[in-house]
Point group: C3
C-alpha cells in the first residue's frame, strides 16, 4: 500500500460470486475507488475465482470430482452468467450489448483497467486447493495467492469492506 | 449528515439484490440504525433499483433490449420475489402474511418509515443508464442520483458498510 | 469482548444465506479471525438460521404457514444446499468430499471449532419470530437472541463488517 493510498483510505472486496452482474458491480466499485486514489484489494474466493481464470485451456482438477466441479463451474471473465434471468445465456449477451452501447466497459476491460490502476487481485488459497486449481490457471494480472488470515490483515486496515 | 448523526456513527448499504427478503433485511438494518441516531444511506444498484421503482406505469427503456430487460425485471416494492422458494409467487405472499401477523412492516411500509427517519436513498447512475431508467421512474423519497465515486465518499466515512 | 480481542480488532458477520458454500465462507473467515486473536460475532438471520438449527426434531412453527415455510426451508448444518449447481443434492456431497480430501473441516466441524475459539453466535430475534422458531430450536453453542439494534451496536465497533 503506497503512502498516497493509505491517506486516501482503502477498499477490500471479497468476490465470492461467479455471477457476471456481481463481478461487474465489484469492478465498478474497485475502479471508482482506485480513481479516487484509494488502495483497492480484491480477494477472489469460491465461484469468484472464475472471473480471473485464464480463457480456454484444458479442464482443470486432479481427480474426477474436481474435473466435474470445474466443468459445471466452467467460466472466465467472458463467460460468466447473470445472478438473475440467465435465459439460456441470452441475459449476459443483452447486458453486455446494453453496457457497450452506454460505453460501460466489459468485465474483461474492467479487469485490464483495474490492473492498470494498481487494484490488487488475490486468489484464495483454500478455494484453489479444494477445486484443484493452480496459480498458472489464473490470468497474469494476479498477485500472490493468499489465505483468509492474510485477507483479514488487509481487511482490518480498510475503511470499506464488502462481501459480494 | 447532521452533527448528531455523525457522533452516533453511520451505516451505508449497497442494495444490489432485487429479492424481497434481502430488501427487507436491508430496511430492517437501516431503520434500526436510524432509530439509534445513526445516519443511514442506501445506494440502490442493479436489481436493487426495483425496490424504489414507482408502482405501475409503462414499461421503461429507450430500445427493445432495455424494454425486454425491464419487462423481465418488472418490479417495485410490492412485487419483489424471494431469493429462495419463490414457488410460482406463493413464497412472497406467505412471507408477507407471516410478517404482518407478527406486526413486522411490509417493504412498502419500511420504505415510508425509513424515509421519515431520514434514511437517504440514492439510485445508482450507471445502472439507471444501462437499464434506460430516469429519475422520474423512482419514488419521490429518493435523493439525488449518484455514481460509484460519490457512494465511496460516503462509504469510507461509515462505520458499517454492507453489500446486500 | 476481551481486552485482548479489542486490541486485535473485531469482525462481525451477518449470515443471511442458507447456502452451504456461503456458510462455509463465513466460518472460514470467522475461524481465521479468531486464530488471529480478533473477537468475532456472527448474527444469523433469515435462511442463515438454518446453519445453527438443531439436527432432526419435529417441524417447527405455530401455524400451517410457518410449518410450511420450515418444511421447505428444512435444514441444519449437515443439510444445507449450494448457492450454485445443487444438481439434485449431488453438489453439496461433492463439495463435502472434496473438502474432506483436502482436510478442510465440514460446516459442522467449523461450528464446533469456531465455538471453541470463542466466536459468538447470535440468532436474529425478528427472523425467529417470523418463522416461529424458539431459542431451544438452535444448537447450544448459541449466545443470546438479539435484534438489529444490538447487532448494530456490535457492528459499529468492528473493523470488518460483512453481509453474507
Amino acid at each position: 500500500m503506497t503512502e498516497h493510498g493509505k491517506n486516501k483510505g482503502s477498499v477490500t472486496i471479497v468476490l465470492f460470486s461467479g455471477d457476471l452482474d456481481k463481478a461487474i458491480a465489484a469492478f465498478v466499485i474497485a475502479t471508482a475507488a482506485a480513481s479516487m486514489g484509494m488502495s483497492v484489494n480484491i480477494f477472489f474466493t469460491f465461484w469468484g475465482l472464475n472471473a480471473i481464470k485464464k480463457e480456454g485451456g484444458i479442464i482443470k482438477g486432479q481427480n474426477w470430482m474436481q474435473k466435474m466441479m470445474n466443468i459445471m463451474n466452467y467460466g472466465h471473465a467472458k463467460k460468466l452468467a447473470l445472478s438473475k434471468m440467465n435465459m439460456l445465456g441470452m441475459g449476459p449477451a443483452m447486458l453486455k450489448i446494453m453496457m457497450s452501447k452506454k460505453k460501460v466497459p466489459s468485465l474483461h476491460e474492467f479487469i485490464q483497467t483495474a490492473h492498470a490502476m494498481r487494484v490488487k487481485f488475490y486468489p484464495c488459497e483454500m478455494s484453489m486447493n479444494v477445486m484443484g486449481l493452480k496459480k498458472e490457471d489464473f490470468i497474469d494480472e494476479c498477485q500472490d495467492v493468499i489465505g483468509a488470515v492474510s485477507y483479514l490483515s488487509i481487511a482490518k486496515e480498510s475503511e470499506v469492506n464488502l462481501f459480494i
